[in-house]
Symmetry: C2
Subunit: 478 residues, 2 copies
Amino acid sequence: MKLEKCITEANMNQNLLNIQYAVRGPIVDRAAQIEREIEKGVPKPFARVVRANIGDCHALGQKPITFIRQVLAGAACPELLGSSDIPEDVKERVRRILEDCTRGSVGAYSPSNGLQLVRQHVAGYLAARDGVPASPTALHLGSGASDLIKSVLTLFVADVRGKPPAVMIPIPQYPLFSGTLSELGLRQANYYLDEENHWALQLEELQRSWEQASVDAHVRALVVINPGNPTGQVLTRKNIEEIIKFAYDHDLFILADEVYQENIISKPFYSFKKVMYDMGAPYSSMELASFVTCSKGWAAECGLRSAFVELLNLQPRVLAAFQAARAVMQCPTVLGQCVLDCVAKPPVLGEQSYEQFARERRGVARVLAERAASAHRTFNTIPGYSCNTIDGSMFAFPRIEIPARAQAAAREKGMAPDEFYCLRLLEETGVCVVPGSGFGQRPGTFHFRTTILHPREEFQHMMDSIRGFHLQFLKTYS
Amino acid sequence: MKLEKCITEANMNQNLLNIQYAVRGPIVDRAAQIEREIEKGVPKPFARVVRANIGDCHALGQKPITFIRQVLAGAACPELLGSSDIPEDVKERVRRILEDCTRGSVGAYSPSNGLQLVRQHVAGYLAARDGVPASPTALHLGSGASDLIKSVLTLFVADVRGKPPAVMIPIPQYPLFSGTLSELGLRQANYYLDEENHWALQLEELQRSWEQASVDAHVRALVVINPGNPTGQVLTRKNIEEIIKFAYDHDLFILADEVYQENIISKPFYSFKKVMYDMGAPYSSMELASFVTCSKGWAAECGLRSAFVELLNLQPRVLAAFQAARAVMQCPTVLGQCVLDCVAKPPVLGEQSYEQFARERRGVARVLAERAASAHRTFNTIPGYSCNTIDGSMFAFPRIEIPARAQAAAREKGMAPDEFYCLRLLEETGVCVVPGSGFGQRPGTFHFRTTILHPREEFQHMMDSIRGFHLQFLKTYS
């Protein structure tokens, strides 16, 4: 009898072995294990695990937007629309969406780039956002931004003049990028964000990164995450202009991860598209992929997998190949597309749903602003912690000093110091955050990423737990 | 000003340029164009386009299963469950699903392999299907079978002992396979199904294909589509045993595309898993990936993107890499998972929804059986047509004789003869089917694939149109 498997660690796709995704990584696995232990009655120094590892607003207690959920229910089961409980604008929205579905069923395939109606509404949304024309034909809907980012990055898998392709990504970054580059076998060219300067992108650092990568690779594309994840900055218009010029001068395709554009707390958000357009020729005809999702923002329907990319100025043959690859996967979920329709064209003043919608949306914005201010304030009062203002996204990414003895203890266990720190935090307080090493950070610095959208009491409990843990940790290891 | 784009046909991922996906290909594009022309009042020799290109039951008029849609509506908008119109078992189902969603929202992420509850129900469904144990941990939910098939095929992207990897696929095949192999840069090793023997898999042909591919490639995996798409056969148990032995002898990983297992008309369906298990050692410990979807069968909710793969006997490190790659994409749509829950655990006798569910399900089965018999009968009465019995799936794949003069006319236009035939059929009758060349066929033979689930009148109109067209076509080109 043969013992060997057909496919083994040795003969499988080696790229897949390099994938790290800390947001669902070993610390999160341990959190799930602890939850099971608590259920079985294993005694712990805390009552329950507080999950702060993933940007999942509903999981943190944010209530779904009623309008979206009524539209989903009606689209799934139009018979329910007879009910007088359903507002008229919901009924009308469902009617229009179903008109655009083949024979009125969300269970039929849509075009692979998404329903025409939804893309029209998204184009309207973008035009209003930017004051710049937008076309439904430039829009491609997907099952989450991750899905679309992977499709776009796939375009770059090609050696150029004998050199392997590389993609520039920020550090810290959202590990979707490092994970997907690993899977696709694209080289990762890191540029460090300037923590001392509010996580801005410095041109000298972009240049340094590009030059270093260009020694033995061909840098094809530049990823920018704005608002920043995990870093929470919102780029200034001037910084975006500099980045666009840099990309132009270095023949780089810009991937703008703009998924947190509706999670804006203080500074204004400028899309790369708007800035490129406003800069005029030659910048306004540069290639650009801008990613937007329904998983974040006030909708925050991440479980429903809905997003779009706006692709601008691509060579037609490249665009056709992108579309062919997407078509093989059929289409994104039609109920997810319904969510996007609601996000792109929410109720307006005068419609029956408007008042409740506006109230719910304001509530979401208020909680985000409060938590962002509170997390920033609290972290900066913990000895050894420092934290930039959180201007956007839904995360805090404080920098922490880890005593030399603790770093040594971590290395003894084969762990990164911040991984060790976060694991101790989890084991002692139940708070589950993601170590900075999962996102990347300047060597010698340590951080963690925590979501901040928990209900007030839980948020306060988490903050108190982190502070208490850290003081004890300093005592133990100083 | 620079004229060159950053990414061009010359410097992009060359694999993507080879993707062909006839199911959404040029003839289908032309059909859409004709529909727009009709809307604009351009005169045509027919009133409207009959789409028969894609296996989309709802688009053909099949009504969604009420139970599924009520569960979806309730899961999206639990407030609606107060209504007395909603059966108790729907309410109970929704309650249980939402218990398994983080804080009761389908808008929260699920585990990347899917909700625990749904995987438990699927395991129960598989155990009942096969009389063989099934485990929720072997199950991985996805956004359609296409998504999962691509993930599994990605594992094989690796040279072995200096040889590039190849995957054996049937011809005719479903072009998801050829398209995905192209994208991944895996070689396609064709084995021809035996049309004269009811599209069976002949061992000699498998051997021939393997030997030919092995000259300059390492054959890693064997794809079997059962029930067949586009060919509509259901494999006998004996044939499956032979295939399993063949795979064992040649160290091949089996990918069993079993998505049409609920579209069974006459012969019994045996899963590869069951047959492997029943064969005992050493076959019962072979690696296997079996794909099942909610897009087909009586649910046919293809727009909602829900499917699963059962992965058996994988080396743990390989499985971990698969899971890591899946986790980067977060999770499949949770409302899609709700559909799968209903499919895996439909209403049973005694539950309030049962009677309506059973009636609807019988209706679907009856239409399929009627259309399959009628298509088979009709096609075999058209001169120059021959068509095997349709035992499963939802397609007919008749073979057609195309006169030499028509073949010459096609080649003059740079088209395959069956592509030319299908385009003429579309232009003259409005019937949109997919040429056999989009699926592959033995050289010198010609076919097309048509879906058969249209409403009775439309189906009859389609059959009459095809017959009338063919007789005229013979006159023109004989």
